[in-house]
């Protein structure tokens, strides 16, 4: 009994911070549910959760064999057995689309998360330290940012090779500057907050100031850029695959590549092989954008209010 309580306490202690952070994010979302940004965010969130569900349970929903070449007759139009038809090499389009969600979400998670993990601390450090370190980092990041994203990703992908993880890394490089810039600018304004000066006056260590006083107040903007950059990630990954620089051929589902393969049949009136993968890209991107835009409309006024 007593041990149970002890255990409970330890669990709340460890989980306390993240749970509180998530809760503090959801509270405005619940409060704003009847306003336009609130509705947008909820639609986006539900769409994203739907895709995550599909991605996780793909093996349960459709057997992987259906995504193999020559599993079925080629180019069957949508019918009762093949809801979205079959493609040029006899794969079930529906199965490809479902398994494609898994692939896209994995790349998105790797790309956006890595960019966050690298970009956030560098932005924080750069903004906090300032001076020539800051200038140098801004210069580097801006030059990466100025480079056309898809081209850069294609270049990196060509160098480090195909594969889900490699594509994730190639995409990360494009989005690091985005996280860097947003984090840095938020840090610059938070650094001037009076409570930061007060903490310094009370003899707080630099690390404490950077982590407890600045980082916690900066991290609020992350969900917004995370959803927006994730939407972009999907497009870039699809673009790379479309260009043939993306994944290996044996990946069970890859929207971008399927779209590229489907291109040659479009002229003969075979629409189903390109429509459905394309639709999925659009839907997932829209969902993430709704979530990102909605969140930014909810969170930014909150920030502004807090500041005034």
């Amino acid at each position: 009994m007593g041990q149970d309580i002890q255990q409970q306490r330890i669990i709340t202690k460890i989980l306390g911070k993240p749970v509180r952070y998530v809760r503090s994010l959801f509270r405005p979302l619940v409060r704003e549910r009847r306003t336009l940004p609130g509705i947008l965010s909820w639609i986006g969130l539900v769409m994203l959760l739907g895709f995550i569900f599909i991605g996780i349970f793909a093996p349960v929903l459709v057997p992987i064999q259906q995504t193999n070449a020559l599993a079925y007759p080629i180019l069957l139009p949508p019918n009762a057995q093949h809801w979205m038809g079959t493609d040029g090499i006899g794969r079930d389009v529906f199965a490809r689309v479902i398994w494609g969600a898994r692939t896209s979400l994995t790349i998105m998670a790797i790309g956006a998360l890595l960019a966050l993990i690298v970009g956030f601390p560098i932005g924080l450090f750069s903004g906090y330290v300032g001076g020539w370190v800051d200038r140098a980092l801004v210069l580097v990041m801006d030059s990466v940012y100025a480079f056309p994203g898809l081209l850069l990703a294609a270049l990196i992908a060509a160098v480090i090779g195909k594969g889900i993880f490699n594509i994730g890394i190639a995409i990360t490089v494009i989005y690091i500057p985005l996280y860097f810039r947003v984090t840095r600018s938020q840090t610059l304004s938070t650094r001037e907050e009076l409570y930061v000066e007060a903490a310094r006056a009370l003899g707080a260590r630099s690390w404490t100031i950077m982590l407890r006083y600045i980082a916690f107040n900066v991290v609020i903007v992350i969900p917004v850029i995370f959803s927006l950059s994730a939407a972009d990630t999907i497009l870039t990954a699809a673009g790379l695959s479309y260009l043939g620089l993306g994944l290996e051929i044996d990946v069970p589902g890859d929207w971008g590549r399927d779209l590229s393969d489907a291109q040659k049949y479009l002229g003969s009136g075979i629409w189903w092989t390109s429509l459905f993968p394309g639709l999925m890209i659009i839907l997932l991107t829209i969902g993430l954008s709704f979530l990102g835009e909605g969140l930014s409309d909810i969170i930014n006024p909150l920030l502004r209010k807090e500041r005034s």
Binding site: E193, A201, R212, F216
Partner: protein, 318 residues
């Protein structure tokens, strides 16, 4: 005996696009232990800069010249870590504007725990109990210790800030307009608290303010700053009864009493500190200004024992 606090020829300059702003120029000032020194002057005359300079929390790239000796150590030449250890432990600062001085995402308790642990190696539990004590002594119930800053009123937050500044029992407290943004009743409470603390801990207090009433009430000595320069220094009694600098006279004349029929003010506004006026910095606004005031900078002269002023005609006001 070594002096408690001795500011020697301190100059502070901020660099801006238009040039250097001389926020403080050649300040010489001493404070003894247990003393209350009032620092008065208009907005932008360098009062807050002085407090921050002592604590070493001026923005980076600020130019600091001269010495600030505190118990034998020259503060501007202190190592970063040594300086950090000194803050709050030996010298603490209370700011004006308590509404924005606490981290909105941190519980009150954690503000204290973090501060105590940054200076002393005690257990977290010990730090917590000291936090409770400090808050109780400021009249804030311990049930509120786990609240967030936004759950308190302005007066309560200022008391929390005072508790934070005092929890490590510093020997010098700098209060930078601690009551400016508070209403009159809270103001008198805060001032009472400060006076009590002085009595109990025999703490030295540097009170930065533009409110001459507060100075008269609780300060032993007064330093008057104008445009970054020290223009008058003396006991509160002397400065109030026999102000030797026309600027101090102007400040005193502009206090509003119950029987005030007509408002007095000092003509003009404080000068641009990037290119200050020649000679005496106050001459463009001074009713007694002569040719010499434009040409020659008046030195700080001791006209009476312990009563200094920087005016060519100081002796005529004696």
């Amino acid at each position: 005996m070594e002096t408690f606090l001795k500011i020697d020829d301190l100059s502070v300059g901020y660099w801006t696009r238009r040039g250097k702003v001389g926020a403080l120029v050649g300040i010489r000032l001493e404070m003894s232990e247990g003393e209350t020194l009032g620092i008065v002057g208009e907005t932008g005359c360098g009062k807050s800069t002085l407090g921050k300079a002592i604590l070493g929390i001026l923005p980076p790239l600020t130019e600091i010249q001269g010495h600030i000796f505190f118990r034998g150590r020259d503060l501007p030449r202190l190592g970063l870590e040594e300086y950090r250890r000194l803050r709050a432990k030996e010298i603490a600062l209370i700011f004006q504007d308590p509404m924005t001085r606490l981290n909105p995402l941190m519980r009150i308790e954690n503000h204290f725990v973090e501060e105590i642990l940054a200076h002393e190696s005690v257990s977290k539990a010990e730090a917590r109990s000291r936090a409770r004590e400090a808050l109780l002594s400021m009249g804030i119930h311990e049930s509120r210790i786990r609240n967030y800053p936004h759950e308190f009123s302005g007066g309560m937050r200022q008391r929390i800030m005072i508790a934070l500044a005092l929890v490590l029992k510093p020997s010098l407290l700098i209060a930078d307009e601690p009551t400016t943004s508070l209403d009159v009743i809270v103001e008198s409470q805060i001032l009472e608290i400060l006076q009590d603390l002085k009595r109990v801990y025999h703490m030295s207090l540097q009170l930065i303010t533009h409110n001459m009433g507060i100075v008269a009430e609780i300060c032993d000595r007064v330093a008057v700053l104008y445009a970054g320069k020290l223009v008058e220094l003396g006991s509160a009694h002397d400065v109030f009864h026999k102000p030797l600098h026309p600027y101090t006279q102007g400040l005193l004349a502009s206090i509003i009493h119950l029987d005030t029929k007509e408002l007095h003010s000092i003509e003009g506004s404080p000068p641009d500190l990037i290119s200050p006026p020649s000679g005496c910095r106050f001459h463009p606004r001074c009713p007694y200004a002569q040719q010499i005031c434009v040409e020659k900078e008046p030195p700080l002269v001791e006209f009476q024992k312990g009563h200094l002023a920087a005016c060519h005609f100081g002796d005529t006001f004696l």
